[in-house]
Amino acid sequence: MMENNNLEKTILYKNHICLNAKMVNFCGFYMPLQYTSSLEEHMAVRKKSGIFDVSHMGKFILCGKNTIKLMQYLTTNDLLKIKIGQAQYNCLINNNGGIIDDLVIYKISEEKLLLIVNAINIEKNKNWINYYINKYHYDDINLIDLSKKYSLLAIQGPLSLSYVQNLTNISLDKIPFYHFKIGKFSGFEKIFISCTGYTGSKGLEIYVPNEKTEKIWNDILEIGKNKIIPCGIASRNSLRLEMGYRLYGQDICEDTTPIEAGLSWITKFEKEFIGKKILQEQKKKIRKHKKFISFIIDEKGKIPRKGYPLMDDNDNVIGNVTSGSFSPVLKKGIGLGYLWNNYKVNSVFLSIRNKVIPVKLVKLPFIKLNN
């Protein structure tokens, strides 16, 4: 691809080039799309192990006495429900209940949180949080943006933990899902290791200061030789879609509320937060809203794609696809989308290049894993 000087590079850019990765613009970064085959990379994560450089993700430390109080007000999930050492999937929302970003929040202490946000929303989130710090005169709260100082490596797949166990003295299989530990890794002290990921398969995410990243990446590839394969964002997308994980900018945005996006499970009405009233009205169905759906296409060779129209049985367009792909595990097309009105329909059809075919509405995740 032609050099685009406006694009950022992760610390591992040269390593990806040396591994013959196909590099693309993703969220303003040069990112590896795939190294050899996105199908092989997908199946490696489902069956063994793969490693992703996802250093483009935004990383904020938020600290100060009132940190949790502020974040309780700006997000929908309940931060009081997690303990120190635990992480939580959450949404930052606006006054209309629209999703500003979906993020993972780690509770490092009662006064210190780590926020992992989407790369495209780094500046927006920073401005939003800082606006409320100023508005409520929370002079004790500091937002520190570590996005450019830290890298993020995700080692995903059922055998990942056993492959990298020898690089650390932490018992990796003792870290519960959505918990983290800080300890020695690859000879470095104080490395932040969490049992989280965006693939649905068991695995780790490791937050590393930039200067230590290349050694850790190389050590993992060395210890995982022929076992842990580098994976790009193409397989990351098909993996997250098989689990039905929403992608910001496609499946959710500021015009989508957590209720509409099927994220009621991270919307806790027993606490006060911005936009609560609107979400409550949607939940009680006294306010019109769109409806999130997930579906499979049984017909061979038909794959839904973002933007394809969804229709009712009278050929009226009633919605659209927001994410779609081939599922390497199901070997079928799978998709996420919205019906624009939350009314009952008997059946939903998909229009693919002027052909109309039925879709099978299913519950998420599309696949069941034995993690």
Partner: protein, 134 residues
């Protein structure tokens, strides 16, 4: 089968003849390795069997190809009558990922206007074209 005298279209299809049959109007059409790499892993090839026997104009769509991440139409590099579809490729489209011209022809056609073939790019021209196209 071994193909020769391959020429290339701007839409990343090639046209070639069987080696022993260079001056015949019967030709084979497939997509280039460049196109395959751009698409990524190919999972489906959709060419409707009712196009057999039909005349299809240059640059009209004769089928679609689905990769994991995207979909692309397949365009006729020259006008022609569709003689045959490569059924092996329809049933096992993943073989397109292991690139080889001989196995990976998609359709056999009878070229209607040989001038259209003559105007397509040579390999050298095509390589130049793909280097400048992204």
């Amino acid at each position: 089968m071994s193909l020769d005298n391959l020429k290339y279209s701007k839409n990343h299809e090639w046209v070639g003849f069987e080696v022993q049959n260079k001056k015949s109007k019967m030709a084979y059409v497939g997509i280039t390795s460049f196109a395959q790499k751009e698409l990524g892993d190919i999972v489906y090839l959709d060419i409707d069997s009712n196009i057999i026997g039909k005349k299809i104009q240059k640059e009209a769509v004769f089928g679609t190809i689905e990769a994991v991440k995207t979909v692309s139409d397949l365009f006729m590099p020259v006008s022609g009558i569709i003689i045959k579809i490569n059924e092996k490729l329809i049933s096992k489209p993943e073989i397109i990922n292991n690139y080889s011209y001989e196995k990976n022809w998609m359709i056999k056609i009878e070229i209607l206007f040989i001038e259209e073939y003559d105007k397509l790019m040579s390999l050298e021209e095509y390589n130049q074209y793909t280097q400048n196209s992204i």
